[in-house]
């Protein structure tokens, strides 16, 4: 009976596989931020094609999700590297430590700019971070009662600032699950928010209140959550010339014929401006590596060497072609050295 045969083969299939499952992993496993994903994948591919090692597997889990997997333990079951669009938090270091993950190598790989852009059909206008806060916060300081909050009344940009055009506020941006959103809120909204003196003082006295004022984005339709897909935001800007969009610099670079970046605090989102840190809405990107995995999984050292080589992350490297903003030469040297020597710079030991 062919069906019985089928069941039998299925069984055999499973049993024979049981033994294999525990075998050693011979490829590097990487998890983490979707912002670093486009860069890590390029390095992984080049690494796989130019060395005798297998191509690393890269999952895009988001920075937080990456740390969760990364800190789960030591061993072939757990990822070797996590990439992140923010520095590791103390709570994550603690979580790692409780699971025995000590000796983590932190490598900064470069910067990413978050751009605010609109369609080429509309004339560009510069924004300050304060403008952005006043346009997008759920509650803003009441101009009549100092120290009081009022629900955001602004409908058009002109209401915020006289030199801005008289068009409705409509901003397409990422949802709260996105690292880009976190960075935008922190770097643009919070900076604009702290221009108000009494809120600035609140930072010291009531941090919770401060964060809820500065970090809460309005929900009345002016800010439109357009999903994690930055391509979609670019497409929507094309069909809606009055809207602004928030996305990563690499998407601006690929679509310069369709959209234009707006100046923030007078500085346009350009390669040089982000590289020398004068563009305000940019953030560093990191790799975190488990030192104890270096001997266990083949190729980690070689992979780090590839990542930190000039031909990858240098000023003319292939990562800059993909939109990564390189660090200064001195910073690059520092982190290359760290990677070469596998210097665990996130706490030396559990001790």
């Amino acid at each position: 009976m062919s069906k019985r045969l089928l069941i039998l083969t299925a069984m055999l299939f499973l049993v024979s596989s049981q033994t294999h499952a525990q075998a050693v992993r011979d490829y590097i496993s990487i998890v983490g931020s979707s912002t670093v994903y486009p860069f890590a994948t390029v390095v992984a591919e080049t690494f796989g094609k130019t060395t005798q090692f297998k191509t690393p597997k890269i999952e895009s889990t988001g920075s937080g999700g990456g740390f969760k997997l990364f800190c789960d333990g030591i061993g072939v079951k757990y990822p070797d590297i996590t990439d992140s669009s923010r520095a590791i938090k103390q709570s994550e270091i603690d979580m790692c430590a409780t699971n025995g993950v000590t000796d983590i190598i932190e490598i900064k790989i470069g910067y990413d700019g978050i751009v605010i852009a609109n369609s080429k059909e509309t004339s560009p206008f510069g924004l300050s971070r304060k403008d952005l806060f006043l346009a997008l916060a759920k509650q803003i300081p009441d101009p009549e009662n100092s120290g009081e909050l009022t629900p955001n009344p602004h409908k058009t940009w002109k209401e915020i600032n006289d030199r801005l055009p008289n068009i409705a506020i409509e901003v397409l941006g990422p949802p709260p699950t996105s690292g880009t959103r976190d960075a935008f809120v922190e770097l643009a909204m919070e900076a604009g928010c702290s221009r108000f003196d009494w809120i600035e003082t609140l930072k010291k006295t009531d941090k919770k209140q401060y964060q809820s004022i500065c970090h809460t984005i309005r929900e009345d339709g002016a800010y439109i959550e357009a999903g994690e897909n930055d391509n979609l935001i670019v497409q929507k800007l094309e069909t809606n010339p009055h809207a602004l969009g928030i996305f990563g610099f690499s998407f601006l670079e690929q679509n310069t014929d369709k959209v234009q970046g707006l100046a923030i605090d007078g500085i346009l989102p350009e390669f040089e401006a982000i590289a020398d840190n004068s563009y305000p809405v940019s953030r560093p990107l990191f790799l975190y590596v488990k030192k104890s995995h270096v001997g266990m999984i083949p190729g980690i050292q070689a992979f780090l060497n590839e990542f930190t080589s000039e031909k990858a992350w240098g000023e003319d490297g292939y990562l800059t072609d993909k939109g990564l903003i390189p660090m200064t030469a001195a910073e690059r040297d520092h982190f290359t050295e760290n990677a070469r020597q596998l210097r665990a710079n996130i706490f030396m030991d559990s001790e």
């Binding site: 294999h20 499952a21 496993s29 486009p38 895009s60 930055d230 690499s250 310069t256 014929d257």
Partner: protein, 433 residues
């Protein structure tokens, strides 16, 4: 005293009276049905035409012909005699650059040379290496080779990037376009069939990216799913339908199976993560785990379809078999099952088609990942077609837009084939009573 209406209306008159209204409402119903059908067809037509119009160009790729001189000097590795080592580590990038320089000697400055090298894909390097590895006799010779062009060139040739746009707004500089025009005039640039799309795994270079890895992943995953869910599903259905006593317990199980069919698929992913990866310790991202999770997801569908198929076999068949002395098992295996089989198969194929298009549960078990190497077994890390579509849709490079649509076309092709097989099987074996 009994005042009657002079002429009592006859039945036929009342019918005639209402006839126009009844005809009108029937016509309305008819039209509404037709309208909703048209609406559905239009939506499908729009979907298909937008996907096909965006995606068909991905099946072609721009190639550039370069004269490659496989100079011996590139193959001498200092102090090493190892032949294959020398062959695989030779500076193929240097050879590509050399041939481009001799083609366009006017590119002198470093900046210009960089622009020139950017015309050709990095894939040219790997292609030359493969050529030499296969035929070391090429060393020392000069041959024309068609190599893939960079994705920006490809976009320009296919018209997805506007040539008229000001230089600052396109990714190709004026100088590069001049060179491309020269190549076109000399017939050294042309669109050819994009075989890489079917033979390569994923890549971050759109011109090298292919769906073979995802396709293999889908096939392996579905194989695991089919091998597990079909026998288990059919056995469950046969037991519940033919052997199990009808009591509270079986009712309870039946309700639960029907409920499971409606559980969102992400829940199965979480279950898979907890049980197969964290508890049993299967590797992440493996088709084995994907197949197991999808098995859980498709089982209710298969069980429900199989039970319906068993129910539709008339009781007279069973009674006749039992009447001439067949045992219960003989009755089921030799008489009921063969008649119910087409229905079971249809249910299974529909379940498989559902599994083929699933991404949500795979997210939890690590199959949403960048994987270049083509998986060869159920333990290798793999991804599947719908995940590949998702990953490409999210990539910044413009050339991935058409590849996304092309991958959707491949996925839709497979779904249509599977559903067509289901219909054919039904037509062929179905018996009406």
């Amino acid at each position: 005293m009994n005042k009657r209406m002079p002429a009592r209306p006859k039945t036929i008159d009342r019918i005639n009276q209402g006839l126009a209204k009844r005809h009108a409402s029937e016509k309305l119903f008819h039209r509404m049905g037709l309208l909703s059908l048209l609406f559905g067809i239009t939506c499908v037509a729009i979907l298909f035409s937008s996907i096909i119009s965006k995606g068909y160009t991905a099946f072609q790729q721009t190639f550039i012909q370069i004269e490659v001189h496989f100079d011996e000097q590139y193959f001498t590795v200092s102090g090493k005699d190892n032949d294959t080592e020398a062959l695989s580590t030779a500076d193929y990038g240097g050879m590509v650059k050399q041939s481009l320089r001799s083609q366009f000697p006017e590119a002198a400055s470093r900046q210009e040379k960089r622009l020139l090298y950017d015309l050709v894909s990095i894939g040219a390097t790997y292609q030359l290496r493969n050529m030499v590895m296969q035929d070391p006799a090429l060393i020392g010779q000069t041959t024309p080779v068609w190599v893939p062009a960079n994705d920006d060139v490809d976009m320009l040739i296919k018209g997805h990037m506007k040539r008229e746009a000001p230089e600052a707004e396109r990714r190709l500089r004026d100088q590069q376009i001049v060179w491309l025009d020269q190549l076109i005039a000399q017939e050294q640039l042309s669109l050819k069939l994009n075989t890489a799309f079917f033979t390569n795994g994923d890549s971050r270079e759109p011109e090298l990216a292919g769906i073979r890895g995802a396709l293999m992943g889908s096939i392996l995953t579905l194989m695991v799913t089919l091998l597990l869910s079909f026998p288990i599903g059919v056995a469950t259905a046969v037991y519940l339908e033919e052997f199990a006593p009808k009591n509270k317990w079986t009712d309870f199980i039946e309700v639960n199976i029907n409920n499971l069919a409606a559980v969102p698929s992400i829940v199965y992913g979480l279950l898979g993560l907890a049980v197969f990866i964290n508890f049993i310790g299967f590797p992440r991202s493996a088709p084995l785990v994907g197949g197991l999770v999808l098995t859980l997801m498709t089982l209710p569908t298969i069980i429900i379809a199989s039970r319906a198929a068993l129910k539709s076999v008339p009781p007279s068949i069973r009674e006749a078999a039992l009447g001439i002395g067949a045992s219960k098992m003989q009755t089921v295996f030799f008489h009921v099952l063969p008649l119910a089989f087409p229905g079971m198969l249809t249910g299974t194929i529909i379940g498989m088609a559902q599994a083929l298009g699933e991404t949500a549960p795979l997210l939890m078990i690590g199959m949403v990942a960048f994987i270049v190497d083509i998986p060869s077994g159920i333990f290798d890390p793999a991804t599947v077609l719908p995940v590949q579509i998702f990953l490409w849709a999210d990539s910044p490079e413009r050339a991935f837009v058409e590849r996304t649509s092309a991958a959707i076309m491949v996925l839709l092709g497979f779904l249509i084939i599977m559903n067509a097989i289901a219909v054919m099987l039904r037509k062929k074996f179905e018996r009406r009573w």
